[in-house]
């Protein structure tokens, strides 16, 4: 039988959950709610006496100091007048994250008869509101129907179990007789997202074998060939046409990745690049004993549908990339970059099937917080940008850096190695994730693709990590990879691609019975890794995992047949050639066209007093403080974060990049930064790519790093590449990446693309702005040289280094006037490199007390941030700022977003040496740090154009996202 227990806070204890919900309800514009209280519900299944239930409650489930409980026996709860009850439970099949720990606790208490534990959340809502308002509250705040449901009629619930049997029923798909129409129908209905060429190619392969494929064979091919796993757009042929400056040029591109991104790396041949583009993350040298690796992934579509779960499994997934790189790296830091719709987007305008941007943002942040913090990995770098074209399709980039002994950087699967799966069990979650992300989102997506949504279990992954590193150091396995998109199908398929693999699907540990052989194979259940283990070491390996309560199971072996053979209860259900699977796909050809648009430069009246504009810029969602987010991440776990994401006299200014010391007893550090600015892409994606690379690199310089050993990663998030205009801008971006990275001499070591980021609503397709994220990683020889961005001492000199031009195209200043402009910031890599190198030399000599890079909002925003973060005033003279263009104006100098620029604070005594170190480069001694709290800017005419109190400016900057 089942027992239902309700737990709530004792009177006098602050109900933080309830109060948080109450505040969120106000945000929805519903004002009638007087009070919300939260009740935690547990349902215990099993034959238990009431005495046992009470013991479990009093010793385990209830905090005796702060909570009380009751066992609910009545079928219907008593209705309290004026109080509405919403009880939210997980849908059947969705993992309840608390169950495993609760069962462990109950067993520890000596009670063995509990067979299942489920949780639910109950909200008691008081006040005056309508039934439809209650419905809005429930749907918008309390549950997500993809994973949860409202328990109907507030009756005590019995557990829904999925325990059903499964009898082998081998399904073959008739391709032989299928017409063109039928083939496409099969692709669509099966959510295979394969095109006609590909379907035909599969048909021919099986015709030659003289048989039709089984469903699992077809599915395996679809996954392996999916955009998500194979990146067929980047690797395929592109017929590219470009119209720039009235000139038309055409190009046939065979493999965009190889002709741009990878080309940089191949040409630069950096000796410290250890392993690039072929493992789960890119590896570079750290010191004589260690290497580091870095990977950035996206998890956009799942985050659109279920923000918490999507971001949660997104970060969980990218953490497994370093864990699955070489023979396994220890994760040392996470990064995250998000793009959302505007948080004040009107509810009434939301497209059908989308969640409100604020809810998406809160969910995504919670998802990253939950997984990153529980894994014990500091989240140290990120960015958040906003635009209304992200309403239906947010972007969630997550990155992880790992460290490994250098001799553990490569893997080699051997014939005869056992295939061992470790970690979480396999369930029905995440079916079709890989193929799902290879199509556009529609308002139907939430119905048809809900299987793609999952919730992670970070503690499971932490357990795996803890043992994995021990097993690695004991040399217990030959190779490893993670189970990501495509699940075992992808992982085993990849590892065995050169040799062959045989798997007994019935040996894979399941969360519940009833899964078909195919579901087992393609499930994307989280927290699983696949190892290739020499048979003689498998017992030791399994024992080691068992000692820390992690399951490790032999499920097959790597063979020499060059075939993928899958058995279910000794029946062969899949038998295909690895060669066909990995190399047999037809090269697809896509059309791409980029036609450069000319946008008019706006005519903006020059205001005498620019203070209000600076205030408004500081309050822009993209520019304002992200402290509310950053503080929720544990950015100092592992103890190595020596330049924190927030820095300043009261620790709340915006660091340009973070510096992490992965080995606490070494001087060496790792710097990570990112560059992202989709606005420039509206004008020219080439210069967007250039600006993003410049931004990521100058942030490394700003914190005291150098270009000596910097590697970058590309992440393309684009709309549907089958549409020539989308693909055209992507191609142009890739060329920008090549030219600028080559110019700087900085190699790419890894990358990822997420395409089909479009949201189709009733036939109308909204594409996200094509967005490239450049993530940079650098090794710093001596972290003692670290520089932070906040003003340090009054009397110090303030320099502006780098050239400012009339480049306000795509700037936030223009956007204040609803204008885009055409003069997008460009990058002169020759000059930029000289500036970067001179500044690194200066930081190396300890000449720089503070430095901040100029990005969104230009000099005005950067200088103001420096001042208020340091709690000091500043005086700036615009006439001293090196300005290149003709039409010089106060607002242009202040708010242009030209690249490769810095504000630098130098002590007076170092003036001469510092200026000498910049000889021949554009710089100006533009002001000084002052003792009072005034931020004063003098215009070209010598008159004050900004006069503001730093505390007031800080308030403008902090207020918007202080939730």
């Amino acid at each position: 039988m089942s027992w239902k227990i309700e737990i709530r806070d004792l009177p006098g204890i602050f109900d933080a959950v309830g109060q948080g919900i109450k505040k969120d309800i106000l945000d929805l514009g519903i004002t009638g709610v007087r009070d919300v209280s939260f009740v935690q519900v547990y349902i215990l299944e099993g034959s238990l006496s009431e005495e046992q239930v009470r013991k479990i409650c009093e010793e385990l489930l209830v905090d005796p100091i702060a909570q009380s409980y009751k066992i609910v026996l009545e079928l219907r709860s008593v209705k309290v007048l004026g109080e509405h009850v919403v009880e939210v439970a997980y849908n059947p099949g969705v993992m309840d994250p608390v169950e495993e720990s609760a069962l462990k606790g109950i067993r520890d208490l000596g009670v063995s008869s509990v067979t299942a534990v489920k949780t639910a959340k109950k909200y008691l809502i008081k006040g005056r509101f309508t039934a439809s308002q209650l419905k809005i509250i429930s749907q918008k705040l309390l549950y997500n129907k993809l994973i949860q449901h409202v328990v109907p009629g507030v009756q005590s619930q019995a557990l829904t179990t999925l325990e059903t049997g499964y009898q082998l029923d081998l399904i073959t798909i008739d391709l032989f007789g299928a017409t063109t129409k039928k083939l496409m129908e099969l692709s669509q209905r099966g959510q295979l997202f394969l095109n006609l060429d590909e379907m035909n190619c599969i048909k021919i392969y099986f015709k030659n074998l003289g048989r039709n494929p089984t469903d699992i064979e077809l599915e395996t091919v679809a996954q392996t060939w999916s955009e998500h796993c194979y990146h067929k757009t980047f690797r395929g042929r592109i017929d590219y046409k470009e119209v720039v400056g009235g000139k038309t040029s055409k190009k046939k591109i065979d493999n965009l990745l190889k002709s741009t991104i990878m080309k940089v790396t191949n040409e630069l041949k950096k000796p410290w690049c250890v392993s690039v583009f072929h493992d789960n993350s890119g590896i570079i040298k750290f010191d004589d004993r260690y290497n580091i690796c870095f990977k950035v992934e996206t998890h956009n579509h799942p985050s659109a549908l279920e923000p918490f779960g999507g971001a949660n499994t997104g970060i969980g997934g990218v953490i497994r990339d370093p864990m699955g790189t070489g023979l396994g790296a220890k994760p040392i830091l996470n990064t995250d970059v998000f793009c959302f719709g505007l948080p004040d987007y009107p509810f009434s305008k939301l497209p059908v099937g989308t969640l409100h941007p604020k809810r998406v943002m809160k969910g995504v942040v919670s998802g990253v917080r939950d997984y990153g913090n529980k894994m014990g990995i500091p989240t140290v770098n990120g960015a958040i940008l906003f635009h209304n074209h992200f309403v239906g399709n947010p972007l969630v980039y997550c990155g992880t850096v790992g460290i490994m002994p250098k001799e553990k950087s490569f893997k080699q699967v051997e014939t005869g190695d056992f295939i061992v799966v470790v970690g979480g069990r396999t369930g029905r979650d995440g079916i079709h994730g890989a193929t799902f992300s290879s199509g556009e989102l529609t308002h139907e997506s939430e119905k048809v693709s809900s299987g793609a949504v999952q919730i992670g279990n970070p503690i499971q992954e932490k357990k795996v990590l803890d043992v994995l590193l021990q097993a690695r150091d004991k040399n217990l396995y030959d190779a490893i990879t993670d189970c990501g998109a495509g699940g075992l199908s992808s992982a085993v398929g990849e590892m065995g691609s050169e040799l062959g693999a045989r798997v007994d699907l019935d040996k894979i540990p399941l969360k519940y019975t009833g899964l078909s052989y195919m579901e087992i194979w393609i499930s994307e259940s989280q927290e699983r890794m696949v190892l290739a283990v020499p048979p003689e070491k498998s017992d030791a390996l399994i024992e080691l995992f068992k000692a820390e309560n992690v399951e490790a199971t032999v499920i097959g072996e790597f063979t020499d047949t060059r075939k993928l053979e899958l058995y279910y209860q000794r029946n062969l259900v899949c038998n295909i050639d690895m060669q066909f699977l990995h190399k047999g796909n037809p090269k697809i050809e896509k059309k791409a066209e980029y036609v450069q648009q000319h946008h008019r430069e706006p005519k903006i009246p020059l205001a005498k007093d620019l203070t209000p504009f600076l205030q408004r810029l500081l309050s822009r969602y993209d520019i304002c403080s992200k402290e509310w987010v950053i503080r929720q991440y544990d950015h100092e776990v592992q103890g190595g974060t020596i330049l924190k994401p927030l820095t300043g006299i009261v620790n709340d200014g915006p660091s340009d990049a973070s510096v992490v010391k992965p080995l606490l007893d070494s001087k060496k550090g790792v710097i990570v930064s990112n560059g992202i600015n989709f606005r420039f892409g509206f004008i020219d994606p080439y210069w967007m790519a250039a600006s993003c690379i410049d931004e990521a690199l100058r942030q490394i310089i700003a914190v005291g790093g150098s270009l000596k050993e910097v590697a970058i990663l590309d992440n393309f998030c684009w709309g549907n590449p089958d549409k020539p205009d989308r693909l055209g801008s992507l191609v142009r971006t890739a060329y920008g990446c090549y030219d600028i990275a080559r110019g700087f001499g900085v190699p790419f070591i890894s990358g990822k693309d997420s395409l089909y980021n479009e949201f189709t609503e009733h036939g109308k397709s909204i594409a996200i702005p094509g967005t490239i994220l450049i993530s940079a990683i650098s090794v710093m020889d001596d972290v003692e040289k670290t520089v932070s961005m906040y003003a340090k001492e009054s009397g110090d000199l303030v320099y502006v280094v780098g050239e400012t031009s009339n480049e306000l195209g795509g700037s936030h200043y223009f956007d204040l006037f609803g204008a885009l402009g055409n003069n997008v910031p460009k990058v002169n890599t020759v000059l930029a490199k000289k500036i970067f190198s001179a500044l690194s030399k200066a930081t190396g000599k300890g000449l720089i007390r503070a430095m901040h890079d100029c990005s969104e909002g230009g000099i005005g925003v950067a200088a103001a941030e420096m001042a208020f973060s340091g709690g000091l005033g500043m005086e700036l003279f615009l006439s001293e700022v090196p300005y290149k263009s003709k039409n010089s104006r106060n607002d242009f100098i202040l708010f242009s977003e030209s690249n490769s620029r810095f504000i630098v604070e130098v002590a007076k005594k170092d003036q001469k040496v510092f200026e000498k170190s910049l000889r021949g480069l554009p710089f100006g001694l533009a002001g000084c740090i002052s003792k009072n709290k005034a931020f004063k800017v003098y215009g070209l005419d010598g008159k004050t154009c900004i006069n503001a109190d730093i505390d007031e400016l800080k308030e403008f900057w902090q207020k918007p996202l202080r939730w």
Binding site: A16, Q19, P64, I65, A66, V98, L109, Q632
Partner: protein, 262 residues
């Protein structure tokens, strides 16, 4: 010189074990990372150690409530060993999740029955927060000898609000001088949020047992044992060592003195 042995106890979800071991090593101890299963199965004997440390993290995901499942395991599976360890006059420290575990297992404020008398519950802000906090210190505990009046350590938790069962319990803690750390501002004055980051009763950040040998605190001393861990070290390049190191040194010195021959 004998290096006292420290058992840094970990389980599923522990994640500050390595830096805690680093801090103890820096303070002159030999720190082992020990999985709780090894103690339960008696593969490793707790009594070989003179200091037991519960590091931070999210033991068992902090499912049900922070530290609860681990505390329950300790009581059910290692109750005897722990009582004996305490009776032998040995030292225990619990940091963050470790403090939650000590409180929920009843090792703090400390009684024979291992009964919970205080708790650490969800922050008033309703969310996990990382920030640096100033702490007013009391010297009357083995771990806090010769600490300055105010120290600076980071906090990172979602459930750190200290509450006691009743006024009597709180009065007893005060009377016995068991309140060791209290959140304050840079000048040592009590203040509201965010100086008191979680809304703790009487600004309590850490307490000890009646003997002063068991200490629990929400802030992370192991994250401030190096000069460069201070959030403003780039400004004051002369600071010597991190404020947290002395806490570990105190434990190690005490262990050397009392268990040096063991």
């Amino acid at each position: 010189m004998v290096r006292p042995k420290v058992c840094v106890l970990r389980t599923a979800g522990t994640n500050c074990d390595k830096e805690t071991a680093f801090a103890f090593a820096k303070a002159g101890a030999e720190a082992d990372l020990v999985h709780v299963n090894s103690l339960v199965s008696a593969t490793i004997d707790l009594h070989e150690y003179s200091i037991l440390a519960f590091p931070g993290g999210f033991s068992y995901g902090d499912d049900i409530a922070s530290g609860k499942v681990f505390a329950n395991e300790l009581r059910c599976k290692l109750g005897e060993e722990l009582r004996e360890f305490v009776k032998d006059g040995k030292l225990i420290i619990g940091i963050c999740n470790g403090f939650q575990i000590l409180v929920k297992s009843g090792l703090l404020p400390g009684n024979d029955l291992l009964k919970q008398e205080t708790s650490l519950i969800i922050n008033d802000s309703g969310k996990f927060e990382s920030r640096w906090a100033y702490l007013k210190t009391k010297n009357n505990c083995v771990w806090t000898k010769s600490l300055p009046k105010v120290i600076y350590l980071p906090v990172a938790h979602g459930e750190g609000k200290f509450v006691a069962k009743d006024k009597k319990t709180l009065e007893r803690l005060k009377k016995n001088k068991q309140i060791i750390f209290q959140y304050c501002d840079a000048d040592g004055e009590f203040a509201g949020y965010p100086e008191n980051p979680n809304g703790s009763t009487d600004h309590i950040a850490g307490i000890c047992d009646e003997t002063g040998r068991i200490l629990g605190l929400m802030p992370h001393p192991e994250r401030h044992v190096l000069r460069q861990q201070h959030p403003r070290w780039t400004q004051n390049k002369k600071n010597m060592e991190g404020d947290g190191l002395q806490i570990f040194k105190n434990g190690v010195e005490y262990a050397k003195k009392h268990f040096g021959e063991a």
